[in-house]
Subunit: 422 residues, 4 copies
Amino acid sequence: MTITPPDLSVFETLESEVRSYCRSWPTVFDRAQGSRMYDEDGHTYLDFFAGAGSLNYGHNNPVLKRALIDYIERDGITHGLDMSTTAKRSFLEKFQSIILRPRDLPYKVMFPGPTGTNAVESALKLARKVKGRESIVSFTNAFHGMSLGSLAVTGNSFKRAGAGVPLVHGTPMPFDNYLQGRTPDFLWFERLLEDSGSGFNYPAAVIVETVQGEGGINVARAQWLRELADLCKRRDMLLIVDDIQMGCGRTGAFFSFEEAGIVPDIVTVSKSISGYGLPMALTLFKPELDVWEPGEHNGTFRGNNPAFVTAAATLDTYWADGQMEKQTLARGEVVETSLLAMADEHRRSIVSVRGRGLVWGVEFADKERATKVCARAFELGLIVETSGPQSEVVKLLPALTISTEQLDEGLRVLARAIRETA
Amino acid sequence: MTITPPDLSVFETLESEVRSYCRSWPTVFDRAQGSRMYDEDGHTYLDFFAGAGSLNYGHNNPVLKRALIDYIERDGITHGLDMSTTAKRSFLEKFQSIILRPRDLPYKVMFPGPTGTNAVESALKLARKVKGRESIVSFTNAFHGMSLGSLAVTGNSFKRAGAGVPLVHGTPMPFDNYLQGRTPDFLWFERLLEDSGSGFNYPAAVIVETVQGEGGINVARAQWLRELADLCKRRDMLLIVDDIQMGCGRTGAFFSFEEAGIVPDIVTVSKSISGYGLPMALTLFKPELDVWEPGEHNGTFRGNNPAFVTAAATLDTYWADGQMEKQTLARGEVVETSLLAMADEHRRSIVSVRGRGLVWGVEFADKERATKVCARAFELGLIVETSGPQSEVVKLLPALTISTEQLDEGLRVLARAIRETA
Amino acid sequence: MTITPPDLSVFETLESEVRSYCRSWPTVFDRAQGSRMYDEDGHTYLDFFAGAGSLNYGHNNPVLKRALIDYIERDGITHGLDMSTTAKRSFLEKFQSIILRPRDLPYKVMFPGPTGTNAVESALKLARKVKGRESIVSFTNAFHGMSLGSLAVTGNSFKRAGAGVPLVHGTPMPFDNYLQGRTPDFLWFERLLEDSGSGFNYPAAVIVETVQGEGGINVARAQWLRELADLCKRRDMLLIVDDIQMGCGRTGAFFSFEEAGIVPDIVTVSKSISGYGLPMALTLFKPELDVWEPGEHNGTFRGNNPAFVTAAATLDTYWADGQMEKQTLARGEVVETSLLAMADEHRRSIVSVRGRGLVWGVEFADKERATKVCARAFELGLIVETSGPQSEVVKLLPALTISTEQLDEGLRVLARAIRETA
Amino acid sequence: MTITPPDLSVFETLESEVRSYCRSWPTVFDRAQGSRMYDEDGHTYLDFFAGAGSLNYGHNNPVLKRALIDYIERDGITHGLDMSTTAKRSFLEKFQSIILRPRDLPYKVMFPGPTGTNAVESALKLARKVKGRESIVSFTNAFHGMSLGSLAVTGNSFKRAGAGVPLVHGTPMPFDNYLQGRTPDFLWFERLLEDSGSGFNYPAAVIVETVQGEGGINVARAQWLRELADLCKRRDMLLIVDDIQMGCGRTGAFFSFEEAGIVPDIVTVSKSISGYGLPMALTLFKPELDVWEPGEHNGTFRGNNPAFVTAAATLDTYWADGQMEKQTLARGEVVETSLLAMADEHRRSIVSVRGRGLVWGVEFADKERATKVCARAFELGLIVETSGPQSEVVKLLPALTISTEQLDEGLRVLARAIRETA
């Protein structure tokens, strides 16, 4: 077989050097279905990346696709700013009846713009307005977005440096297990808060991911989250859970914080909320926090109605009962068992295996190894990415709808890639 | 006829108070085609707003719709992050051959995320990185977006206050005609730059809209733009044209700055670039500025492939020859003539009529009047919005593809609304 | 005569490179009396610099010296923090009866620390607290001090760069005549204030020098100051006059703003307030602004009691009647006449002669010339310094107590230095 | 005996509400000698406050007084900016030969202005310039001054709030024992530094007091200081020791860091450096850090020559041999023994006794108690102040030159005041 290298010329000459994923997967993708992607040369790839968590229901999910095409066919409103539309109403009603009400979540819903960083920016604005303070606490290795407000609470120093201005008004605190049990949880944070001489700018809010995806699949324990929620309540800070990557069922339940039994003051949702990979984001908050003036935050694409249509379809299809959650947890156990076996096989190479639901990370002792594993996996037809501050973790984010056969297949390829990069 | 008030309850109880446009147009929209929108009760509206400039080719444009449905039907990649895809390649190639090359524009193309503020944030980051300075000059009544970086260069004090932190690193300069000819253009700006004792933080870049849409349809003269470009060059500042609302043909030419004959260092594009109202944005810059490291700026929805498909279709359909530009300029003359007649009729009420191509503003002496005119227009079936710092300007943004009959119809309704609010 | 070069070794090896004036005057001073300074080799210098305006009553003024020695001899409190002392009471009572009451100035008095920048820092803090806003307007070529708060409202870009952090929360406006009459005064400033879309961070206060000493002896017209005061009042901003260098009689009246008939909200005083060159500063403000909590601003040396003693002595000696003011104005006329004659003689070299009372500047067309003039003057036994952003102005700051003979002598030396550097 | 209340009217009507110490000690002081202060009504007070550490050699020390009066009598230069003077040379030479050289300290000397906050501001500027970073690490309960740069690294939230702008570019770390041994020293700090994903703005420098005076007499262990110095070296941060209150012999050795055997990169010195309570400050730094441009930092009173004279006299008198250090340590032991006895007597009231050399703190369980103790002590003729974030610590700062009798007397009064406030 002669392989013609893909024609990447226009990407290499016209597109900016800022492009990144395309460098790891040097081919030109054309089509996708479920957990399979196809490049223009007919090669098939199994997708364990799922659009960085934006494709929890797989690529071009047929149920959503049907709803989307019907909507487009009948000339439903496409671009609606924040006008009231039938598509938006349908989404809101379903979100209330299927998601919020059964979980006793009292949230109001804001459409802050089409992408995660819009949701984070709006959450931070709201918290600052409500509390009248500038500072926000975030956690080590957090990732919340690339616009200046979000970047200021993001940990990665390379991305922070890109700001070109000092990123202030944020203070990092240690994420769960960051100091490996060598200090009591929240000891430092609480001392700073209680001591009026600590020099700590008292925060309006704390923003946290329950599982840090970009940060290296760091999983916060439910207990830690509960203590954090309690600290926020006692110390008059709002708790913002950024559920952009971990929400929409990624960890099992619809919201990743449900397991801990906490009710954050503000929640950001994006990535898989539309279900089809269409740009959409939500900011949810307790009704007493809804102190926005009309138009105080806005955005051109905050009413992406085709996304509302597919979002509504995901709710009907996957969240009307507890099936999806159960399935995710079951699939997660499969992944965990498999990864633990690999860890057992490569005891000196694999430092840690960790995850929840269908998000898993495999950390390697040799920081370069994870990148090699992913590269080899790609050659073997598996799309999987690294994460962590030094890209030292292989991150598994298969679609929640992946079949057990595909899951096994992917895990087998991963095992082989690990073996072949030893 | 009995009119049942629309059922807005879920919007009023579940959606945040931040919603704004839906308050001006209290109905529930369902479908749209070209310049017509339809609410769920079967009422028809003529759209002179065009998604705040995101629907230059009308709602659900049939050519784009066909391409979009075909793409979805065949399971083309929907969500692609920054992977290379056939849809992206097709867009890039057409953008180069149809837009950039014929205009001798050497730009590289960056996909900064799906909405305008992502493009602005990336442009400011890049300028700061290239020049190693923090400060950016913007103009009075500028609007560049709602995330913190963009908001810092936006004029509106209400929106700025929403930030909850001091917005620094930006300095406003007077937009063209801001001081009504009572001072030479750029006198103050140039003195600040040339005087090492001025106390002015030397800027990395200047960001400007050629026509300020949100700011009140303030039109910069070509001569003023040329002098600004010259000043930037002489004084070692990058020139960023924010063409998010005024690009994609709104003023006639594809880029609004073409008329002035300038070549900005960086250009931001969004709103109508997909043509179908789908979230998409571009950051264009001279190749020597492409100092980005891979992944230094990123975003989940920067590869919205269905938007690439419709965007490519707009280029083929409307920009392969000069027809669209000519038509826009012709339609613009119709609007101008009509508005001047209204101004003539309401000499004491209408302070100014101004615009370029198919963006026009009518400023009223009584600051409340514009809001009343828009409200009356809506009752008469015309969707039109205000702009300006005190909402004192009626802003006309019809689709570029509007028929002459619809244009006349809208202008007649507007004339009537003005008369009936006297 | 054999001249042994002065032994500067310890300065050159041990003292930091930051030292500056000592480079212009490469000798070792030992004693001083009135307007004469003496170096250790017995050379005599006539002082037209007066400690950058800190020695308005000459070096080691005998009346003040007597009071100071008496106080030290009798073990009066030297260091008093902000304790009540008899020396402080005496100063306060005299300041009230001799300075404030006759001028109908209702000010309260704060001791903010011993130097000008302490006074400026406290003034800015107070203005921000009273108005609840962060931003301060300063003027082009302003100089207010070197600590971070003061530096942010200082114009000189070299000194600003020394901060090592971006200096924000300040915006420069054009000082009187900065744009040489090519724009109406305050046009730009007022537009920014009145337009809620201007993007201007609404300031808490405006800080201004009536004559910019470091900035190049730029003299604000009384009319301009009155318009500024009026603007501040109309637009709800506090007016801070920084009278550190120009107060204490330098321009004739005790406060430099008296001539304009304005009453600033806050006044900073330092340099010559102790009269003897001892560190001391005051912050004066209208009583309704005294919203300080006890200890909200403090400083170790805010109670420099020997300085209170000499300060009180200056009030008794020089300000109990109008003699000093008259003499300063008369001496100022002598200087002006003499400088105008020099300007007439060197029409192509001298661009401008300007000043008030006993502060005068001579600006040279050739930016290097002023430095040469000062260097030559030093060789001829006259101490005189440059100012202005490019050190293009020779600045005359003789003691107010200088004799007419010494004044003539100094002016003759200056004339010769100009001639000899042609 | 009839006691006439002191006439405080001018202080209460004319002086700002910001005054603080005078409220604790409601009398009018007139004279002072050694450790005794006298008010105008002839009452005598024993001073255990020593000008907040500015009067280490007692009030109006006769040796220094003689030198000072001689200098004034002979018309020595009083105000010298940064000109070379014989007084400055004399100080520099003695500082080098008596202080720096015997301790093998390679420092260059900068005169940053007359007060501590000038020294801190200059130290931070220099560190930022050298390292090209904005951020500075300070410690919980640090006090470094009240101008904006210094205030940003100061812990007290009440004083921080006075800034009126967000204080950024600083991050607090736990001071020694802040977390009472519940976490390894520097664990958190080091993790932040080593993890490129921590979100921590990498600091240019760390600023620390070896004993926190204002913060509550918190004593850093020598071992902790050594580890900090080592961390700074390993992690490329400059170490700044703020020795303004603890230097000049307060803890025994001339510099408070000598005991730990560390050599900070930058040292700030003020308060007792002149010895006579005259405003004076130094910034010391390793020669390779002397990257200042001439005049990049300046200040009107940086050349307070009478202070140089008394400063030189302190060096000759007290530091030419090791006598003073020995005496201070011996006196310190007396204080410690006495305080421990009090603590033993009041086991439930006194939480902690701590100190070094002649700086000691007594912390009370009841936060109000320390204030009551000081008030009662004042009635009994002893001047002593509180410190700590809640003023919960009685702070003992007697002159180093205090006689053993006076020391005993003061301690007896303190013991009585504690007893009488039980």
